[in-house]
Amino acid sequence: MSKIKVVPCSGIGKVFGLLSREAGLKVTKELCPELCEAVCLARVMTVDDDAKESIEGKTCIAVDGCPKMCAAKTLEAAGGVVKAKFRAVDTMRLHRGEDAGTGTFLTDAGWNMSGELAEQVSEKVKELAKEEA
């Protein structure tokens, strides 16, 4: 069984993108590296052959920053089977009034939000991995 692809949007303009990026990285590097892996979204987008092969027909989780859902849309367009979609903006809504940082850095509150999002994503990874085992 191939690893589940966890793909953040990494949008550069606002803090949402950095939250999604760091959450995705935490899941793939720390929380469940044995079950999932990251794929460069830019490679998927440009229909790099290797990347397309790693996405097409494979179970993916999109970790987007904002409601534009660029990662989810791109994965679907590349033939990925997107079984879960997360948005950093939803996590931020649970922390109204807190400053998460910017597209350049996260504050302590931002790291906490990113960590929370990562936990949600990792639970989904484990659930999907169990289903596919």
Binding site: V7, S10, G11, E22, L25, R43, M45, C70, K73, G103
Partner: protein, 142 residues
Amino acid sequence: MADTGIGAVRMQIGVISCSGEEILGGTLTRMATRKVMEELRPGQAISLCLPLFIAGGEEERNFARDYPVISVDACERNCAKKSIEKYSGQVREFIILTDFLERDVIFSKTVSMKELTKEHYRMADKIAEEICKKIDAIAAGQ
């Protein structure tokens, strides 16, 4: 040469980084682009969001059609450059980190911001300087 002083009209220039999630180089392109936009050439350097650009963001695509764009890629796959060329035309300038950083650094699996060292920040500064050189060259020829 374009006057970059206060009050002068400066040409806006787009900067688009690959921000690849698999390797350190992607993180460095992103950090450098943000530094240029926020600190080194604020108001002149406009960062374009690659995911949004690819997913069909009209604002991003129109900007890239109407203004010069510099692509900043970590590796020879040139994902940011290829994306601009596919949807909005030629990039005016491009940067590939493999031209001036060691490959084992660029392809390192250290990707998260919280793992970065001072040396990584120095690398991002160096990339930011390269971006600024390209911006200034484009502005000089406007």
